[in-house]
């Protein structure tokens, strides 16, 4: 039995093609994935991301608990509403999940974790809580829905739909959130465009979604979400990283604080590791489409010269295929490599990602 979000019936009414996404019945597209992609790059679209889980942590000095739980440093969060992107590691430095942490008060932090890892995450966080901070309350919030409104016109359309919200959210910087009435409004996203991710009571989700639609926000499915995040060079958990890879070889060194005295789970392992592989962007020069798990060969010796595509696909904005690939760390930007696609060896150029940000092609 697939799990459903509060918007399930609404997706079906809007003719969504539904798919099983990690046990959730979710929209893949509402007709054309490509149109949805372009709409978000050029105007505004929305995703139901209610399958992701909000986990609130309440109690005395939550910050102290999070300092050791995650790889990024929550001491960077000084203003209420500020958000931090981070990995949560196991003692070997492997990535249990990537998540966003919102600082609301010293006795209340909010985590947003991936759908497919939610149960595992809650179990892990709870086991750590039991060890080090048994007085804290871990509260999974399945009573909440989450809708991501993304695109250059996304914020204006949200303000049309929530009268009065503009004055509260006008000045939010990237990775900052504020509450307004029943809405928790964060200037975050997974597309490389401006916009909001809005957390709201599950019972209000259908009404809010329909009002956004009436305001001209196009519904978009997981298909467009994947091509948008790939163009934006954002990692997908389970594909570009998992428990067998660490953040340093996943292009996420910038999210790991190894400088401060603070200890965190996985820190010792990361300090002892040498990073032999790294994520790079690939731009396909030949015709075709790159897909995850295709093998990449470089001019280096067979044994250590190979790599693998972790996420590949067709970029609608570039009108050519792009990929993230884990390659030998010494590979140079601009180098030409080859990807084994069926019986062919296709030429690709190593590039620095992101490929696209705020509607602009960067490669």
């Amino acid at each position: 039995m697939l799990k459903i979000t509060p918007l399930n019936q609404t997706h079906r009414e809007m003719n969504a093609k539904m798919v099983d996404f990690g046990g959730w019945d979710m929209p893949l597209h509402y007709g054309s994935q490509l149109e949805e992609h372009h709409k978000i790059r050029q105007d505004a679209g929305m995703f139901d991301v209610s399958h992701m889980l909000v986990v609130d942590i309440h109690g005395e000095n939550v910050r102290h608990f999070l300092r050791q739980l995650v790889a990024n440093n929550v001491d960077k969060l000084t203003v209420s509403g500020k958000a931090l992107y981070t990995c949560m590691l196991n003692p070997d430095g492997g990535i249990i999940d990537d998540l966003i942490i919102y600082f609301l008060s010293e006795s209340w932090f909010r985590l947003v974790v991936n759908a497919g890892t939610a149960d595992k995450d809650v179990a892990w966080i709870t086991s750590q809580r039991d060890k080090t901070a048994p007085y804290l309350e871990i509260k999974p919030r399945r009573d909440l829905a989450m809708i991501a409104v993304q695109g250059p016109n996304a914020r204006v359309k949200v303000w049309q739909v929530i009268p009065g919200a503009q004055s509260t959210t006008d000045n939010l910087k990237q990775f900052q959130a504020a509450s307004f009435e029943q809405y928790f409004i964060a200037r975050t996203g997974y597309t490389g465009e401006d916009g909001f991710e809005i957390i709201l009571p599950a019972n209000d989700a259908v009404d809010f979604w329909k009002k956004l639609y009436a305001a001209g926000v196009a519904p978009a499915g997981l298909g467009a979400r994947d091509t948008l995040r790939l163009e934006a060079g954002m990692n997908l958990y389970g594909q570009d990283m998992d428990e067998t890879t660490n953040p340093l070889e996943s292009g996420l060194a910038w999210t790991v604080d190894l400088k401060s005295e603070r200890d965190f789970i996985g820190k010792q392992a990361l300090l002892q590791t040498t990073t032999k592989r790294q994520l790079f962007g690939l731009l396909l020069l030949d015709k075709g489409v790159l897909r995850s798990h295709q093998k990449v060969v470089t001019h280096r010796d067979q044994a250590d010269g190979e790599g693998e595509i972790t996420s590949g696909g067709f970029s609608p904005t570039l009108n050519q295929s792009i990929a993230l690939a884990r390659l030998p760390a010494e590979v140079a930007i601009g180098e030409e490599v080859h990807v084994l696609v069926r019986d062919k060896k296709l030429a690709a150029k190593v590039v620095k990602y992101p490929f696209v940000r705020n509607g602009q092609i960067l490669v």
């Binding site: 893949l28 054309s32 994935q33 298909g223 091509t227 015709k287 489409v289 067709f314 609608p316 295929s321």
Partner: protein, 129 residues
Amino acid sequence: MSIPTQLKYTKSHEWVKSESDGTITVGITQHAQELLGDMVFVELPKIGRTLAQKEECVVVESVKAAADVYSPVAGEVVAVNSELESSPEKINQDPYQAWLFKLKPANAADLAGLLDAQGYEKALESEGH
């Protein structure tokens, strides 16, 4: 979904049109394009290539996945629709116009083994569609 009655079909979702010169034209069905979603790349066979029945000869790639297209009967490729290389979306727009390749069948009698529209509809039903 309406299935054109003047065409023949395979269980692997190719359509086949018999031409007056004895060749056949091959494409993929409406059902196949709907399953795959927006097309972004088509790899066509070389003209002159000899194909066995059910041999993989075309790759169509959508935003979602790559899929093989199989030769409905044995024969020789006599033409390909190279327009699709720059406009693969034509397959989504009208799959029964956007043909992939033309084949000169090795044995015209093989065509009798293909499904008619009714037979293809039954095959779809048994797939659970």
